[in-house]
Subunit: 594 residues, 2 copies
């Protein structure tokens, strides 16, 4: 495993040349000072921290894991984690995109997302400790009372305290309507929280002085199902320093992200404080959840990048067999394996998915900034719609591609890829959870097709398509881009017709929606990436001849690879979607096994 | 993780109803007594052993792993492994398909392969100890002198001794031409073997009294490259009981198959005995290698089956959300997740790939038996050609599908799938190596397109296609089968034309072969599975109305699922193959990173 190098040149490309965040940020009140120079200084500081502090801990921390001490309910994180976290706080990163009113740096998401990608590449298990805290910050920032904000936000922003989100219980994950944790009024405005939560990432650890749990629970006589769930703030330590009744019962033994403490938390009448309105807890939680879903996508992206860097270095060094059209390095005993087309297929798949994912991330980050800050209501609405539409795509498509990419990186290493010391298989194991948590990718697919597309009669999707179609029209006469724009235009037309057909079928048979969901999400993912790759090629053509031709030529070549070798997946997706639900529903349950 | 249940009903289906081994075996000298009754008694004994002895050890053995004691160069296998191996030997399974002359049971591969599948499902890490021994048996049986056979075979057949295959060295895996291990004549007919071999599965352990290593090494003045490699027998202990100079230097720390000892072996002038002709070692090793490749395929199959069983049981029990068209079990708090189309998609994908893989395995096993025993030379040649053509397909397609299946099984479990105690993620980790060892799946793809298809001007592939075409023609008027036969006929035509085009391009640019290889292998895999599913549906239709309709109806429904949801992958494969090598080769090496 080679040292991780942050892809600063590519961050510059997506932020400043493709998405052009600097054309938008000055219009957003509060972000006037987030100039390119400011961005660069933060990105460089983050790159140094990730390369020099986080990445070197990644491999050893996987072997060491977290240690649970039952007598004290305490958890020790792997060697180096505390020191790295301390330094991270000193650098001010916990509050990078937080409100300056509470001590934050007030930077946009357009900066925070690349910083998050770097952390995911360098040490995804570590990155989850501050990642979860940020979710807790957001929920309290949006839904908390002034007093709650004053109490919790400064400490979360400084990093002195960390946070969690406590949703899952042993019998319910996807179906939160089934949750049983109870909240009984104490009579003093607080509540006694009782129940067991599982799979709580960063649920107990030794990095911070206090842990602020955000917990879903039911008030007495709450309505059934998701309509009766409320959100509570449950600190590990109370204001007066006393220990609250929430205890880590055990840590899960997992496939990966072993250095992140995944806790079973027992709430034993713990004191909690209602946040937001009673019975509206799920909506509050979704403030954290949507951010967490994009965070998951970033994990797929960051791990894909790390795996690509490892595989590329290995493919340039490992000598094995000769190039098919004659030796490339006749003076060596064999050629480096990067000469072989099938090895290049694997590397380019990693590269094309990773760079498109980075572009999508930059796009979404800026839309989040617009949604939050733009003075114009319509601009905010448009941004919110695009974010809503593409959040499930970013979560599922980026993590599925990340898993594919980490597996390909491991495959490039051959047998060595299977050996833990090389670090490639850890990336696979660490990535695998991103397809599962924060709503499985199957749930993302249902969210996209059901809630985001069909529920508003395709309005958000049409707006997105119009944006892509406008790009196609604007570049219709561009000979350079023809190879990208022509298939993109056709795909857009085909996907539009297919979506119409789906909407018709959905009225007759709801199962057709679920049957199409996963394939439909990948289809929309490819529409998005095809558009982004065409745009990246367009930018690259504009920049040719200005002194960095190799970089821009690589973008054009990678775009061609994407259109030739990855985009054709849509042929299969459209074919399978058209076969509907019947092939899935026809087998009676008892005939699945004999 | 539910208890493993051997799929005995499906073994009966593929062996006796689909492939109809009993119509062929009586014609093969030596297999006259391998009747259906005999098959059943062995299959039931193996099922009991795998269900009751091997499967219960699988999870604990993964956690425990193998332990290496450096001072004694010795390895301890996980608790229970020794006892299970002893029982396996007492049952006579090590010699199941071995020559009775050396104590074997003399059973055909058509029986041995299902037994191997069960072992892979129950405990793949354990199964590799006898698996490697069998490879050593085969190599000595085919290439050894009478004296060598007399010395080694009885002990390998009884299981008192085990075997290994020692190919890989730190600097070469795929490219064995680079290997450096030396064999110097001792003057007494034996050789002193010196060098380091890595990734030696079952290379050192405590299951048997002796370990017989089959080692590739170079004689003095041997020609360069693969033309100068010879094969040697290197026992751990000599006939007189003295310790030979081969020592385990360490065990690898791996992603999975942790209960199999993957050893670094240091040969320190170890006494070895040439087997086969000097400098022809690679050909000898391929006797083991081809069997090992099919064994790998079986690992993908067996692990897919195990994962399917686990996922199916969970999907029937886990209550979460309601069916889209109304509650299925209104009396319960939620419906079992098997009601959801996307969960069914995952289960049916596992099921369809697993059952087709089982059919392919039975087909190939019988062809191996014919190749070895049939009195008619042409029949032997036809069988050998089909085995040669489909061995890389079985290895790569079955392991890729096995990895897909184990990942889907884990996904069905949601967050619980990521937790080690549930056993689902172990199947993923254990399966991952099958795509890498015994020649990576990329190497299998090159073997198929290069050596097996292009090198004989498509002769083997045409013979195979003719067989499929004959099936299509014979069933042209069958209304029941139309939905399968029509697309299969079209696919056969399309794949044939595409192969012709590939052959033309290959003459102009060798890189086009490598560029197409992986996609081409999946395409041929789908041609094979589409044919097998059509045949399985044909058998099922014939059997309807005879009292087991549910079983046969499930076959027809699963065939429909395969044609609707999995086979359409060929649209993508044909599209990407047609784009050739250019999109892969265009990027200069230095432009892969900036």
């Amino acid at each position: 495993m080679p040292a991780y190098k942050a892809p600063l040149r590519d961050f510059h490309f997506v932020l400043n040349e493709l998405i052009k965040v600097q054309e938008v940020l000055p219009q957003l009140p509060g972000y006037e000072e987030a100039t390119e120079d400011i961005f660069n200084s933060y990105l460089e500081a983050a790159a140094q921290f990730c390369e020099n502090e986080l990445a070197p801990l990644n491999r050893t921390a996987d072997e060491e894991g977290c240690h649970f001490e039952a007598t004290t309910h305490s958890v020790t994180t792997p060697a180096g984690f505390r020191e790295a976290y301390k330094q991270y706080c000193e650098l001010g990163f916990p509050g990078l995109d937080c409100n300056p009113e509470y001590g934050g740096q007030g930077m946009p998401k357009a900066l925070a997302f690349p910083v998050m990608e770097m952390q995911c590449s360098a040490n995804v298990a570590w990155s989850m400790y501050p990642g979860l805290s940020h979710g807790a910050y957001s929920a309290i920032h949006v839904h908390g009372t002034d007093e709650q904000k004053a109490t919790y936000l400064p400490k979360l922003v400084s990093g002195e305290w960390t946070g969690t989100m406590c949703l899952t219980e042993p019998h319910c994950g996807t179906d939160l309507g089934l949750l049983k944790t109870r909240a009984e009024p104490n009579g003093d405005g607080s509540y006694a929280i009782t129940g067991t939560k599982i799979f709580i990432s960063a649920g107990e650890h030794d990095l911070s002085d206090n842990i602020i749990h955000l917990v879903l629970a039911r008030l007495p006589d709450a309505p059934k199902d998701v309509k009766g769930i409320s959100l509570f703030i449950v600190p590990k330590f109370m204001q007066d320093g006393s220990r609250n009744g929430v205890f880590c019962g055990s840590l899960e033994h997992k496939m990966g992200i072993k250095a992140n403490a995944t806790a079973v938390l027992n709430f034993e009448g713990a004191r909690g404080f209602l946040i937001g309105e009673p019975n509206k807890g799920l909506a509050c939680m979704f403030t954290m959840m949507n951010a967490a879903r994009l965070g998951c996508g970033m994990q797929g992206l960051g791990l894909g990048e790390a795996s690509y860097q490892g595989a590329l270095a290995y493919a340039r060094e490992r000598l094995q067999m000769r190039a098919a059209n004659g030796p490339a390095q006749p003076d060596k005993p064999a050629d480096p394996i990067i000469v072989h087309p099938d090895v290049r297929r694997m590397l380019l798949t990693q590269k094309a998915y990773t760079e498109a994912g980075r572009a999508l991330t930059a796009l979404l980050a800026l839309q989040l900034d617009i949604e939050e800050k733009h003075p114009d209501a319509e601009a905010r609405k448009d941004a919110a719609d695009l974010v809503a539409l593409l959040t499930p795509v970013a979560k599922a498509f980026m993590t599925d591609n990340g898993y594919l990419a980490t597996n390909l990186g491991m495959q490039v290493f051959g047998g060595h890829g299977y050996i833990r010391e090389w670090g490639m298989e850890q990336l696979v194991r660490d990535c695998r959870i991103s397809q599962i948590y924060e709503g499985t990718n199957g749930i993302q697919a249902l969210d996209l097709i059901g809630r985001k597309v069909l529920m508003d009669q395709g309005q958000k999707l049409r707006k997105f398509s119009a944006q892509i179609f406008a790009f196609c029209q604007a570049n219709e006469g561009n000979e350079n881009l023809k190879e990208f724009v022509a298939p993109l235009t056709q795909l857009l037309k085909d996907a539009g017709e297919l979506t119409m057909g789906l909407a018709m079928n959905a009225m007759k048979n709801r199962d057709d929606v679920g049957a199409a969901a996963t394939d439909f999400l990948r289809l929309i993912g490819h529409v998005t990436y095809a558009w982004l790759w065409a745009r990246m090629a367009a930018v690259a053509y504009e920049k040719l001849g200005q002194g960095e031709d190799a970089f821009y030529q690589a973008k054009i070549t990678t775009a061609r690879f994407y259109f030739a070798k990855l985009l054709p997946e849509v042929h299969t997706l459209m074919a399978t979607i058209k076969t509907g639900a019947k092939p899935l529903m026809a087998l009676p349950e008892e005939q699945f096994a004999f």
